[in-house]
């Protein structure tokens, strides 16, 4: 069976060129970058070259890049690191209701530790209102953490407007750029942020490696204690093969971003149009244009996401859903709730995140599969087709 992967928001295959770049660092140039001998110096060189590649890509200085084990660690590091180090100045943090759990759960943890967090709401398209951030700023606000692009609905946030506000008041700004990096331009000075999280496995690099950009002069508490690695900010023997792969993936993303954007935007808009044209009671979720070029999120009334996901999987297509039934907590996606969807509407949502390797034929195949599957599930749904005694409070006009 042909397998079609359309879940690039969850993770991506590692580019074969990235694997090639990594391979020597397993068996041959395997040294510990802290060692003085030639094996170590080889590793140290690769480490610093990779750091420079990543810094260059986002317009940062080399020493402003700290390698971490991934996006989650970067988010934890940024938020806890600022909170603990600057708690003398204040204990108030501003974030949004649609952040990734790595941000939201870190904030929730800090609330238990005596910090106060304001969760700014978003509009029905999933865009944050800069004014409401402005209104939330207090004298004791030390950090604003707003994601660059949302992982579920792909909406892109006005980060530079937020940074402009924050800079005037001396408040640090962190942005989670895990989903935006490699897909839209990410430049730390244009965004105006002090901290920025990235993760390798979302951009055709290996899992288990990421970075935190920390603007020079930012007061941040170290997260991991030990050897003096990463300027004493993040101890642990450096994952050289991972770092080399990550840097290669960044370089490839930069090389390809114009082509990728064109390709992905085309497929995205084609997919949306095809689905809308061929399936009734289907609605696009999120902003029509301020969204990542590869993100499609659609909800289908009367049926549930997990069952769609499973039937698509049987046809070899991998996508994801915001349905509660697919999550361990049995809560519908907090993002869909935050943009005002009722639980019963969140249940029927599918997220399709396209990738570099997807084709128009695959989009056609997906659309055909969806037509069949949505029809099949609606046929066995007690709330579709015939009048039901259930009251289905859906919001089709959103």
């Amino acid at each position: 069976m042909k397998r079609i992967y359309m879940d690039h928001g969850a993770t991506t295959p590692v580019d074969p060129l990235v694997v090639d770049a990594m391979l020597p660092y397993f068996t041959d140039k395997f040294g510990n970058a802290s060692s003085l001998h030639s094996f170590g110096q080889e590793a140290a060189l690769a480490l610093e070259q990779s750091r420079k590649m990543i810094a260059d890509s986002i317009g940062a200085k080399t020493e402003e890049i700290i390698f971490t084990s991934g996006g989650t660690e970067s988010d934890n590091f940024a938020i806890k690191g600022i909170a603990y180090r600057n708690s003398g100045k204040g204990k108030h943090i501003i974030t949004s209701t649609i952040e990734h759990p790595a941000v939201l759960n870190t904030c929730a943890f800090l609330e238990n530790e005596g910090f106060e967090v304001t969760y700014v709401a978003v509009d029905n398209d999933g865009i944050i209102d800069v004014e409401s951030i402005e209104k939330s700023i207090r004298d004791d606000t030390i950090l604003i953490s707003i994601m660059h692009a949302n992982n579920e609905i792909g909406t892109i946030q006005p980060i530079s407007d937020i940074s402009n506000l924050a800079r005037k008041k001396g408040i640090y700004v962190h942005t989670d750029a895990v989903q935006s990096i490699g897909k839209i331009a990410v430049n730390v000075d244009e965004l105006g942020v002090d901290l920025l999280s990235i993760s390798s496995h979302k951009i055709y690099g290996p899992k288990g490696i990421g970075a935190l950009y920390v603007r020079k002069g930012t007061l941040l508490q170290a997260l991991a204690h030990g050897g003096g690695h990463e300027h004493h900010m993040r101890a642990g023997t450096e994952n050289i093969s991972g770092i080399v792969g990550f840097a290669k993936a960044m370089a490839l993303a930069d090389e390809r971003i114009v082509d990728d954007t064109k390709h992905l935007t085309h497929l995205r808009d084609l997919l949306i149009k095809k689905v809308m044209d061929s399936i009734d009671d289907a609605y696009l979720i999120g902003h029509p244009t301020k969204r990542l070029p590869n993100n499609v999120n659609i909800r289908f009334r009367f049926i549930e996401g997990e069952s769609m996901l499973l039937l698509l999987d049987m046809k070899g297509i991998a996508i994801s859903t915001g349905s509660a039934c697919s999550s361990k907590s049995l809560e519908p996606s907090h993002v869909l709730t935050a943009i005002g969807l009722k639980p019963e509407d969140s249940h029927g949502s599918l997220r399709i995140t396209l990738g570099r390797g997807n084709t128009q034929e695959e989009v056609d195949y997906l659309t055909d599969a969806l037509v069949e599957i949505v029809g099949r599930l609606r046929a066995i749904s007690p709330i579709s087709g015939k009048k039901s005694s259930f009251t289905v409070g859906s919001t089709p006009d959103m």
């Binding site: 549930e304 069952s307 499973l310 509660a324 039934c325 697919s326 519908p332 019963e344 066995i380 259930f390």
Partner: protein, 125 residues
């Protein structure tokens, strides 16, 4: 996540549909929590001669509805009332822990259909 039997009952659901002249109809769940099912039964001489379902819900919800129709057909009403959520899950070879309660409403649906049947019988009397 799901075992093969669950996947089979989910993707080739048995006894889907409604029964126009059902003797009893049970509706359980609600759209907010993401699972709703309707179970239709035909009863003759105290025996369930036909059971059908319609379900809105995840893989487990569809598979358990599908399974319970098979389990119930041919049983007496008393026997059918003894079928529990656990029995359905067991008959399917197990369900993921997280699915045990929320998406395993099928026995509730069957019981509701039988209630409805008994209620209607009482009215007829």
């Amino acid at each position: 996540m799901y075992n093969e039997k669950v996947i089979d009952y989910f993707s080739n659901p048995r006894n889907v549909g409604d029964i126009e002249d059902a003797d009893g109809v049970g509706e359980v769940g609600n759209p907010t929590c993401g699972d709703m099912m309707t179970i239709y039964i035909k009863v003759k001489d105290g025996i369930l001669t036909d059971v059908k379902f319609k379900t809105f819900g995840c893989g487990a919800a569809i598979a358990t509805s599908s399974m319970i129709t098979e389990m119930a057909i041919g049983k007496t009403i008393e026997e059918a009332l003894e079928i529990t959520r656990n029995d359905v899950a067991e008959e399917l070879g197990g369900l993921p822990q997280v699915k045990m309660h929320c998406s395993n409403l099928a026995s509730d649906g069957l019981h509701a259909a039988i209630e409805d049947y008994r209620y209607k019988q009482n009215i007829k009397k």
